[in-house]
Symmetry: C2
Subunit: 384 residues, 2 copies
């Protein structure tokens, strides 16, 4: 049975062009960028080239604003804890929306444990941050405000420019977790007015093991991994050139193909949406129009998302998600779905389909049929 993988938000296959570009860094161009011989200088050059490529994707003012880390989780931790701790004298308050990824929420809670005041901002039923409450919560003591560019569970794209204005009129730095958005929609950190921005390699179809944090020139951030002082003293550890070079190449491909791929995935997603919403008592979650291309999130009354996921996998070899990609082993309902106003039992019936480069329009009828049969079957069982 052919595999139809529709869970790119939790893991993406690495683009074969990226693999071809990055593999030589394993056994041939394996130099340590900190060494002084030619092999080390070549490694340094490859590192800086990747930095430039990532900077271009988000229109950063300079490659030097890009710090490579090991994962989006680490970038989020660095952005939040590193910035808050370094700018402690400017204020000890931090703010985020309620629908942030757990790798944003948990660093915030860590700061709270060490004495910081942490406040959250609600979202409306479509997942858009409540700008009035944001304006109330952010004060001049608010050293970091963290809002996702787009939400990985419901696909909603936030009005980052308006958020940036609010944050900068009242508080200090805006961190934007763009893990789900980067490479899918156009991001311009300068026009968007972002101070810190997280993006990950794997979400660009690059290898895991690399992520980046954009740090606007002038923003002071303290290391959270002290050691050899790599990455301008902000992130120690020998640079993982295979993953970093791969991320750079993935950023180039994502940038070049973004417009066409966005159009293609929007068309496929639109057909999926139309067909799947013909199922009785099915609903789109998240924003109807301000959403990531290729991102679909539904809920179905009276059934469990986990059962949908397992049935689609076992009976049809289709992979989808339910709840948060990173903590789907927990039994708690998604904090994002509760935040947009769903009841516990409603939140449990969620199904997320995230399309990617390998997604084909020709699979739509098969997948739609499988989802319909699965929902019918599970509802029959539940009704018995």
């Amino acid at each position: 049975m052919k595999q139809i993988y529709l869970d790119h938000a939790s893991a993406s296959p690495v683009d074969p062009r990226v693999v071809a570009f990055a593999v030589p860094f394993l056994s041939e161009d394996y130099g340590n960028p900190s060494t002084l011989y030619v092999k080390g200088l070549d490694a340094r050059r490859a590192l800086e080239s990747a930095r430039g490529k990532v900077a271009s994707l988000i229109n950063a003012e300079s490659p030097a604003t890009i710090i490579f880390t090991g994962s989006a989780t680490e970038s989020n931790n660095l952005a939040i804890r590193g910035t808050a701790l370094r700018n402690r004298q400017a204020g000890q308050k931090v703010v985020s929306s309620v629908i942030e990824h757990i790798s944003v929420l948990n660093p915030m809670k860590e700061l709270q444990k060490s004495g910081y005041h942490y406040e959250t901002v609600p979202v409306d039923a479509s997942g858009i941050v409540d700008l009035e409450t944001l304006a109330d919560r952010v004060t001049k003591e608010t050293v970091v405000t963290s809002i996702n560019y787009a939400n990985d569970e419901i696909g909603t794209i936030e009005p980052i420019r308006e958020i940036s204005e609010i944050v900068h009129e009242r508080g200090q730095y805006l961190h934007v977790n763009a893990t789900a958005a980067a490479g899918k929609i156009s991001i311009d950190v300068q026009k968007d007015g972002v101070d810190l921005l997280t993006l990950s390699s794997n979400d660009l179809a690059g290898p895991r093991g690399a992520a980046a944090l954009y740090i606007r020139r002038g923003v002071k951030v303290q290391t959270i991994l002290p050691g050899g002082g790599q990455e301008n003293g902000i992130r120690s550890g020998t640079e993982n050139l295979f993953a970093i070079a791969g991320m750079g190449e993935a950023a180039v491909i994502a940038g070049e193909e973004m417009a066409a791929e966005r159009e293609r995935l929007q068309q496929i997603a639109s057909l999926y949406r139309q067909e799947i919403l013909t199922i009785p008592d099915s609903y789109l979650t998240g924003h109807p129009t301000e959403r990531l291309p290729g991102h679909l999130s539904f809920r179905f009354s009276r059934i469990e998302g986990e059962s949908i996921l397992l049935n689609l996998d076992t009976a049809y070899n289709i992979q989808v998600a339910t709840g948060s990609a990173c903590s789907s082993r927990t039994l708690e309902p998604s904090h994002v779905l509760l935040a947009i106003g769903l009841k516990h039992e409603e939140a449990h019936g969620s199904m997320i389909m995230t399309l990617g480069r390998s997604t084909l329009g020709e699979d739509i009828p098969y997948v739609v049929d499988a989802v319909k049969k699965t929902v019918d079957r599970l509802r029959e069982i539940t009704a018995m």
Copy 2:
């Protein structure tokens, strides 16, 4: 000109067998171990298999004692800061030798900034930790004592079992940075009496982007990267399966070939040592016998290690190191060489050769001749 790479301590080429094993995890077996469908379960199985392989290499009591991180720097930070912070009530004192890697020293200094009492223990002229001073410094308030299994700059192997006895009679937990030693000499965390042990993938000829921290059952460690709760809540972030699976395979190969490879590298190193020490005013640094197989560290009077490095690279395509592999861009003399009693000008004349799997005995005459000519030439220039 054929490349003769003798700087495996700063970066190792990934073994082609490891590449072949790990590459399928990029574009085929790319599932996220936290997902519930079969592809996710397969990923989970590969993750747990790698954990078992790494556990075996160091004879850990259970695979569950192995936590995967992104780098040796991160493992050292987790071992030191994670353990100290979690066990704050047991004492706020930390101890290390003076010759620890900078990714151990800097986390120690971080703790010091936040109020911990940090003391260092000197070493003798061969780099062996002064056990009497260690016994004086470690008290029941000493929550973490960190000593390297073997030093990456001078190759000296520490008497870990004796150190473990001293630490456990007086203080709390012993962390051992085995980055340079793992895969090269036999490590048994149970017999050695180690509580926490760092080992890195690349030092086993596996890909960068993975490292491990052994945490003896019962030792409580606090996360330093809060987020999705992967790795039993101790290290968040989607698992980098390519690097982790590669590290597992690299551990298997290292374990299987260790005895033979140790013998082979010791023979080559012994010939290098004999020949190079015929150069006037040349000295071996570190311990004459208790040293890593394939590790050679020398110093030459009246010349700069950096000049040796650059001349060997440019004129002979031979890559060696000088000073610490990770901070060799600094102009300060190695803290390790100063700690074994060398004067500044003596420490500046160091050359480190770390052999690896690709090192061939047949290259010895060429390399020895190149080193001799280089030292002669540099001394001539200096004498002018």
